[in-house]
Every structure is written in C-alpha cells, then in structure tokens.
Symmetry: C2
Subunit: 195 residues, 2 copies
C-alpha cells in the first residue's frame, strides 16, 4: 500500500512541475511517467484519464499552497496587513530562485483550460476561492483593528489583490524580473490598503 | 500577388482566432490551414516555421489592438481618464458578446510561451509596451490637467492598469462573468486614479 501511495504522489508532484512550466495540453502522460520513473500501467490505476490527473494536480497544489499560506497568515504576532505583505514578498523570493519563470499554476491553468474544460473551470474556481480567502481573513482582522479604510469592501479587496497578482505573474514571465510583482505590492499597499 | 497577400492574411486571422481560444502549443498548423481553406504548401511560403507564424500573429494582433485603442484614446472631446474607462468598458462589451471566453491573446501567449521561447518573450514584451503606452499617454494628459494625484508615477500606473487587467481577464475565464473586470475598473478608478 505504501508503495502505491508513493507512486501516485510521485506522478502528481512530477506532473505538477512539468505542467507548471510547459502547460497542460503541451505535457504528455508518458513524459510525466518517464520523469517520475513510474511504469505506464500505474497511471490508469490512480487516474481515470488525463483530465482526472489534471484535476488531482489542482487539489494537490491548492493543499500545498494552503499549508504555506497558513504559516504566514496564522502568525498572530504579525499585524494582518503585514502578513499579506510578507506572503507576497515571500513569493518574490521563490520566483527569484527560479529566474522568474512558471508563475502561478492555478492562474496558468485558468488561462489555458478555463474555456476548454468545464471540470477544470469549476475546480479552478474552488481553488481561487480558497486562495482569496486567506486575504479576506487577514482583511477582516485589519478591519477589526481599524487598520483599513471603511471604503474597502473585504471580499472585493481580497479578490482584487489576488486577481491583480495573477496578472503581475504573467508579466513577470516576459520581463524575467521582479519588477511587476514589486509594482503590484506598491499599488496594493500605498493606494488601496494604506489609503 | 493580391491572392497571395490574402492567403497570408487569412492564415494569420484564422490562426489568431484558434490560438486565442486553444493556445499556441495546442493548435496544429494543419488545423489552421483547413479552417482557413488554404493548401498546406502555402504555409511555408509565408512563414519559416510555426514559431515565425506565432510571432507574426502577435504583430497582427498588436496592430489591430492599436487601431482600436487609437479610436478611443485619440478622442480629444473626452477627458483622458474617461477615455481609459471607456476603453476598458468597451472590452467588457466585447467579452460579453463571446461569453467571457478567450481573454487577451497577448496575455495568454505571455503566460504560455514566456518561459518556452525567447523570441516570443521579446516580441510579447514589445507588444505589452505598446499596449501600456496608450494608458501612459492618457495619464500624461490627465497630469497636465491636474486630474490625477501627484503621488502617481505615470509609467508605474500605466503598467499597473494593464497588468492587473490581464489578471482580471484570466479570472473572467473561470467565472464566465464580467465581475472581475468590473472589480478591476472599480479599484483602478476609485482608489488609484481618482484617489
């Protein structure tokens, strides 16, 4: 049983990495299995088909993202707006370490698969809602502390932070620099959160 | 000669439409030629290879975008900030008419090809600079009229408007609604341009 679980996780992890860089449609199942060092037969033991594989990768990534986000957003020793800033700045360091490539797997799949697969669209929407909720929770705390303007609607603001960040990540890929990410943080903080 | 020019334009137009919806790597040359009703031999008369075809599509789209943008941004009877709003709201109507699919071809290709092809990356960066410049020119006029805060840097603001709009377009595709686009316009205007 242990071995089977490990094979599934290995396929998912390696598949997520390849799809993150090359896209879903441009990635072949055989390519993933070869990179994962797993025989072809096992793929259909764990996944109904390629789409099912893609959907399970979204779940895997959302879980991983949530664990990382909790580390930052659960830290009550840091004021809530500062948690948002630390989270975004943490991403800058991660992207710096991979030469500003890849972007956000969820954003990438939303762009690539949003029009092509209703199953992807629904799953990606769920993932985006989870990602947005980290910002919403921090903003709620900021509101209680009177740290943000009464003009800001929490749900709309949380959504705008994530949505505009996704755009900055796309720009990052063609500029190969942190500039769009830093510009995002500047506008979100100087003009919206600290306005 | 006329016929040859028409064949090239036809391949580019049809190719842009298919790639806009399905992505570059997921689109086959034969598929484009069949849809365009053009024999295969003519492809290599106009394009060195698929990458060259993709790069010419970016030029074609950037030219088309610029023509449309000029119609709005050259209208001196409308105040400059209002031109920005009209331009963005015009896109909402366009996306409404195609059920909030496709998104921005340039943003899509930046996401898909930014890491995979240096030639695409350079060409997409040029395109994005041209798209950003429409906002920068309007903001410059707004500055001269004292319509925007002295705190706003024109280049950074123009960049943030376009970059965050690209993110909103990705979100639009999974929500199949104008909500993210409207939220973008709200934040850009209420908190940044009219702050």
């Amino acid at each position: 049983m242990m071995k089977k679980t490990n094979s599934r996780d290995k396929i998912i992890e390696v598949g997520a990495q390849i799809i993150h860089r090359k896209g879903y449609n441009h990635t072949g199942i055989q390519e993933v299995l070869t990179a994962a060092g797993v025989p072809k037969g096992s793929f259909y033991f764990y996944f109904k088909n390629k789409e099912d594989f893609g959907l399970q990768i979204i779940d895997y990534f959302t879980e991983f993202y949530s664990q990382q986000a909790n580390l930052v957003f659960d830290d009550q020793s840091v004021p809530p707006l500062e948690r948002i800033k630390r989270f975004l700045e943490g991403f800058i360091k991660i992207f710096e370490s991979i030469d500003f490539t890849c972007g956000c797997l969820i954003g990438n799949l939303a762009q690539e698969m949003g029009d092509l697969s209703p199953a992807f669209r629904i799953k990606l929407k769920e993932s985006v809602d989870i990602m947005t909720d980290f910002y919403a929770r921090a903003l709620k705390e900021a509101r209680q502390r009177d740290d943000i303007s009464a003009r800001l609607d929490i749900a709309e603001t949380a959504d705008f932070i994530l949505t505009s960040w996704q755009g900055a990540l796309v720009r990052m890929k063609i500029e190969q620099s942190a500039r769009p990410l830093k510009n995002h943080i500047k506008f979100i903080f100087e003009f919206i959160l600290e306005s």
